[in-house]
Amino acid sequence: MEKESTKKIYWKGMEQLTNDAEFVKHAHQEFAPGPEEDLGHSRRDFLKMMGFGVAAVSLAACEAPIRKAIPYINKPEDTDPSIANYYASTYTNGGDYCSIVVKTREGRPIKIEGNSLSSVTKGGTSAQVEASVLSLYDNARLRFPRVADNKKASWEELDKAVIEKLTAVGGGKIVIVSNTIISPSTKAVIEKFKSKYPSTQHIQYDQSSFYGMLKANEESFGTAMIPSYDFSKAKVIVSVAADFLSSWLAPIEFTKQYAQTREVGEDKKEMSRHYQFEAGMSLAGANADYRTQIKPSEEGAVLVQLYNLLAAKAGRASVSGGVDKPNLAKAAEDLWKSRGNALVVAGSNDKSVQVVVNAINDILGSYGSTILPHLPVNYRQGDDQAMANFVKEVNAGSVSGVIFYNCNPVYDHPMGAELAAGLGKVQVKIATTYKEDETASLADFIAPDHHYLEAWNDAEPKKNHYSVAQPAITPIFKSRAAQESFLIWAGETNVDYFEIVKNNWKTWFYKSGNFQTWWDTCLYNGVLELPVEATSVSFAGDVSAAASAIASNYKGGSGFEVFVFENGTVGNGSQANNPLLQELPDPITKAVWEHYVTVAPADSKGINFKEAKTEYYTISINGKEPVKLPVLVQPGQTPGTLGIPLGYGRTKAGKVADGIGKNVYPLIGMVNGSLSYSVAGATFEAAGERYQIATTQTHQTYMARQTVVQETTLSNFERVDWKKEFQPKIATWKDPNHKVAPEELSLWKGHDYNNHHWGMAIDLNTCIGCGACVVACNVENNVSMVGREEVINRREMHWLRIDRYYSSDAAVHDVRGLEEAAENPEVVFQPMLCQHCNNAPCETVCPVAATTHSTEGLNQMTYNRCIGTRYCANNCPYKVRRFNWFKYHDNRQFEKVNPAMNTDLGKMVLNPDVTVRSRGVMEKCSFCVQRIQNGKLQAKKERRPLKDGEVITACQASCSTGAIVFGDVNDPESRISKLLKIAPRNPERPNGIDKLAGNPRAYQVLEEVGVKPNIWYLTKVRNKDA
């Protein structure tokens, strides 16, 4: 009973109690059937569907963007994936020219190198040339023809409308405006256009005009031409405000010639002496042996004085005027001693000044020696008068049609604003630019030209020196050669510009043999050079008239003198939308992404320029719009002068350049019938606004650290009998009086390099600091551009930098004083990159062994392995390691400043052989390991040893002066081994890491730290008396 009472029975429901048949049927199931069952969905189904749904939604959410990759179904001939092709071509930008070789990968140009077959540029390049490959992939490029109101149009529509309009002009004046054209075929095309529209006038102008020189030479020699210069023959060079290493006429040519005269050593004990008289610190001035500060208004007077000094020696009549300046008498003395091997150049665009220069060179016998008038150059043909008249005519309404052929006068002509205002009166306005600009935006029709890398063309930089431009890529957009446009508008039927160039060359230059073979050779070489007859000229200029013109035109007067100049980065501004140039540190100021006014320290007393913190100042010139710019304190600048770089203040150049700085072309005046790049009588007032300039270097002196920079003078070097002058020594515990060279001490035995041992030599004497190598390195190695803000944060990514140091007047022990640059300092440039230390301090501290030593002496970086502790960078004595602080690729934050990694178009420039580094990893110079590898593979394929000179780093290839030599120091026959006079320290271990450099100029930076770098520097030698 008791049991029963505890045995309670519970029912699930009435159905169980009544044992309902329906209930019994489903009793074994866990859940009673519900309405879901009827619909055919179980709980499991629900879970399945939910699971699928969640998975599908999350998958859909993280779906990768679709990227189209088109395989080669029919592989183009000569295009092998991963094999580079090279095409000889020609860089032209207005009158700037360079014969180049374009490296393409899978049909995309990715790198530009110099063409060593050209006797003009001799394989040299410049920063602008190196950077121009990125301009091909500029997002501001025009993608299709445009007609009125910027409407997208087809070429047929555009041509029809243009021809209609041009015909409607009737006999009205049509003007073709261009920069200097050095292409004979293009000029022929323009002639054809002119014959169809006879009222056409072709006007050339140059951003940096040489009209004064053309006129001076016309007066002196009877022909308006610019001669070739040969700096290599000059033993004494005097330059009055001509920055011939950076912007004056043909810097690529001149740097090469100049460097030849600057090489010095046991085997060549002579070098040129270079005097520079200038206002701002230019690249040429920075390399000069003697530099004198003058004002722009004194340029003419200095030359008159020099003329008088030399005329006295030569027994010629002196002229009135002249002003004495330090070093001027000495310069005259040296010039006179080296007459026949002397050269005087001046940057002035004033006819009178250039006549005086011609007279001086005539006295010195430079013509036929350092100046070659029989070999005129075509770089600058601009006519300042014609251009000024044109602007006036436009405003007067007497011009009916204008075609801007790849030029941008609204921006880069002093009268640009006037021109823009008057353009409304012109019936037809056509622009053929390849990318957006200020002038094209005012045109009715835009007929986009190809980028030069997409186009056929030719060039005649010098008389009888020809260079051919061939496309390295199919046109990316719907552009058309401007020459074809001209021909179509002229109603021509034969408009294939390639055929035209080819036929022209056939007619003009081809003589005998198989034409196709001849033409192929021309294309292969890229250049065609025909002999030029040597002729002599006789000077017939009127020096005294010129001197009195100078005296009356340049009075100086009160206030500041403003001069505008092309700097070594964006130059005249035509390539300003190129981030490679914007982020290239200015060779002198080291500023990037910045526009500023350079001011002498004496004139900027109120500004403590430490860390490039500064203030805005307003520059007002009578009759001109005041310009407000931040001040950059420039040691070496003449007090009382203000220097402003051109090329900034673009408004329609594209995202990269727009809004940086002010356009100072309007400050250019007109003196003596030609453009004058300096103006006197300016006021300079604080605008009361603080500003931070972005610079890559904020400490200006090398603090008398002789182990960093070694320099001497030629006379000192002679005095020590061409022996090494300075060698750091270390006292040892054995005997404190016996000091040894640091290289003799090591904690380690060191490895043997049984195959190659890569090394580099950098000559501080021939390095002029231009920065072409920096751009070349950036392009070759996919180095990220980071933009102004990040440079202010001191995070530029450059693997190779050029350190620029000013000398200081302070005593060696005055550590505080050494921080201040001298008032007129000497300058030294030191390219600094990973030194590939044999005892690398970075390698030992990496916790994950991401940076290691190769069997060939390279310090290698394994990006995959790097976890980003930055310990290696801290422990690097040279501070050459660069950290990826952010994700610089595929990141909208950096789209504007780093289009090469953030836009589909820009990415085409990337070198597929080099990894794009991810966020959080360290990177640095690799000695272009991809090029080394390529060279080795090539040699291996051909079953032969690697030959010296087959592997050339990007920096070496771009260096016009040959300051960088890379090679195998294990190979006694290599160029580097011979240059440095390399010998093994221990004869029993010829391949050990310890190598002795017998060249007395060779030294290693921070030798006493004991890291045993694989880079040697060659001491800077100045040709000074004391």
Binding site: E611, Q697, T698, H699, T701, Y702, M703, R705, V708, E790, N793, R794, R795, E796, R801, D803, R804, Y805, V815, R816, Q830, M832, P841, T844, V845, C846, P847, V848, A849, R865, C866, I867, G868, T869, R870, Y871, A873, N874, N875, P877, Y878, K879, R881, R882, F883, N884, W885, F886, K887, S918, R919, G920, V921, M922, V1005, L1006, V1009, V1011
Partner: protein
């Protein structure tokens, strides 16, 4: 029946009995959190939240949110790392070395000091983590784990790797030591909970005490383990900061490349650790009314340790200056010249004032025994020790060999945020500890109640 030594200061005042000890300490754990505690906790959590935001931004955008640059690759991150590691040292010193030296005054402070050690090491360890460019890979690539990369192994030459071992060993030993000491005390709380009828607490603390029963044999084993761990920890007091100092000493950077660093860093670590212990305990004894257990005498003894270590540090600073001149190495000479009069001279002199001059005030008994003065000076010392690391790291890096790379370092809000984050961790953990764990080692204090406590 309490006995008081005639020559020694009593270590426990107020005539406490063994029962009082259990009651006074456990009462914090058993009672409801006070308003003050809630406020403190809220502030800590706010700091933690703010810091977590800074961390999230750091992880999302990259190290670039900090103010570091191409020349100064470490600044606040490693400064904070060394600072926190240093702070931790006092706990180990108190619990291990003072145990071996049979310093009984350590008994009422070692629990909190050890807790501080553990939390400080956690804070410290966060910096080497967050400062990595690729934290997600660093976690396992910095460890010598077998992998599928072939012969790829960590670099045993790297001081950073030594750090990984040093810090992880230190943390493990400290944690075990600390927890072991807590076991008998957890058992006390459990026993009291059983009596009070709070089943949840009884179960939780039973689990935490691993079912401690307090048998004689258990006590014997407990004491043996304590001695063994103390023996293990003792070299760690010296080794951890020695290895941390080698991050700098083994480098080639002037101002870092210094053989004096290991002893100098250890002294500095104990110096800052004691200062931090004082800061925390002065607050804790007040809030939890433990004045009878953490007496002025305790504070005075710790202040004496601060005078000694502060003086060692001072001598080290002066030695560095002397050697930099005596060596005649121009870079070395400039590095120290630049410290003293360069752009970061303010940091150097802040360090000198806080670390060398201010602790000398403790020679005066009145200051040494003043709670307010001690509290203020303990904070000053900690500020000074932060500056010491900042001076070593940043002034050495910002102007080293090649003048073209010389630059300044400017911290951003994210540098500050990361520091705030560790304060958030530290105080959150410390307040949780103070509320839920017995802040004074009851078992040990009870052992001295009979011998060195004050008579009622």
């Amino acid at each position: 029946m309490a006995v008081t030594s005639v020559i020694r200061e009593p270590l426990v005042t107020g005539g406490k009995t063994i029962k009082d000890v259990s009651h006074d300490i456990s009462r914090q754990v058993e009672g409801k959190p006070t308003k003050l505690w809630w406020m403190a906790m809220a502030i800590s959590l706010a700091l933690l939240g703010l810091g977590a935001y800074a961390c999230a931004m750091l992880l999302w955008h990259g190290i670039g949110v900090w103010g570091l640059n191409k020349t100064v690759g470490w600044a606040w991150d490693i400064t904070n790392f060394v600072w926190w590691v240093g702070i931790g040292h006092a706990g180990t010193l108190i619990s291990a070395i003072l145990l071996l030296f049979r310093q009984r005054w350590r008994m009422s402070i070692n629990r909190a000091a050890e807790a501080m050690t553990i939390f400080a090491v956690i804070c410290a360890a966060s910096f080497p983590g967050f400062h990595m460019g690729r934290l997600w890979l660093g976690f396992y690539w910095a460890l010598p784990l077998p992998n599928t990369f072939g012969s790829l192994w960590v670099n045993f030459n790297s001081p950073l790797l030594w750090d990984v071992f040093a810090i992880s060993t230190y943390f493990t030993v400290s944690l075990v030591f600390w927890y072991m000491g807590l076991i008998p005390d957890f058992a006390v709380i459990r026993d009291r909970a059983v009596v009070q009828g709070n089943k949840i607490r009884a179960n939780v603390y039973n689990a935490l005490s691993f079912g401690w029963q307090g048998g004689a044999k258990t006590w014997m084993r407990y004491e043996s383990v304590a001695l063994i761990l103390a023996g293990l920890s003792t070299p760690l007091v010296l080794s951890v900061h020695t290895i941390v100092s080698m991050d700098f000493a083994t480098s080639v950077i002037p101002g870092w490349h210094t053989t004096i660093f290991p002893p100098y860093f250890v002294a500095g670590a104990i110096f800052s650790g004691f200062a931090m212990v004082l800061t925390l305990l002065i607050v804790t004894r007040k809030v939890f009314k433990l004045e009878d257990y953490i007496t002025i005498y305790h504070i005075e003894l710790m202040n004496i340790v601060i005078i000694i270590t502060g003086s060692i540090v001072g001598i080290a600073y002066i030695t560095e200056l002397f050697i930099s001149w005596y060596s005649r190495v121009p870079y070395e000479g400039y590095a120290f010249y630049n410290r003293v009069v360069g752009p970061y001279a303010w940091a150097y002199w802040a360090m000198m004032t806080c670390n060398v001059i201010s602790p000398q005030l403790f020679w005066i008994k009145k200051i040494r025994t003043s709670i307010v003065a001690t509290f203020v000076l303990s904070i000053i010392v900690n500020i000074g020790m932060w500056f010491e690391r900042f001076v070593i790291i940043v002034t050495s890096l910002h102007r080293d060999y090649i003048p073209s790379s010389w630059t300044m370092f400017y911290p951003t809000w994210y540098d500050v945020g990361q520091y705030v984050f560790t304060f958030g961790i530290f105080f959150t953990a410390f307040f949780l500890f103070a509320k839920f764990f017995p802040v004074i080692n009851m078992a040990e204090v009870k052992s001295i109640i009979k011998s060195t406590s004050e008579k009622k």
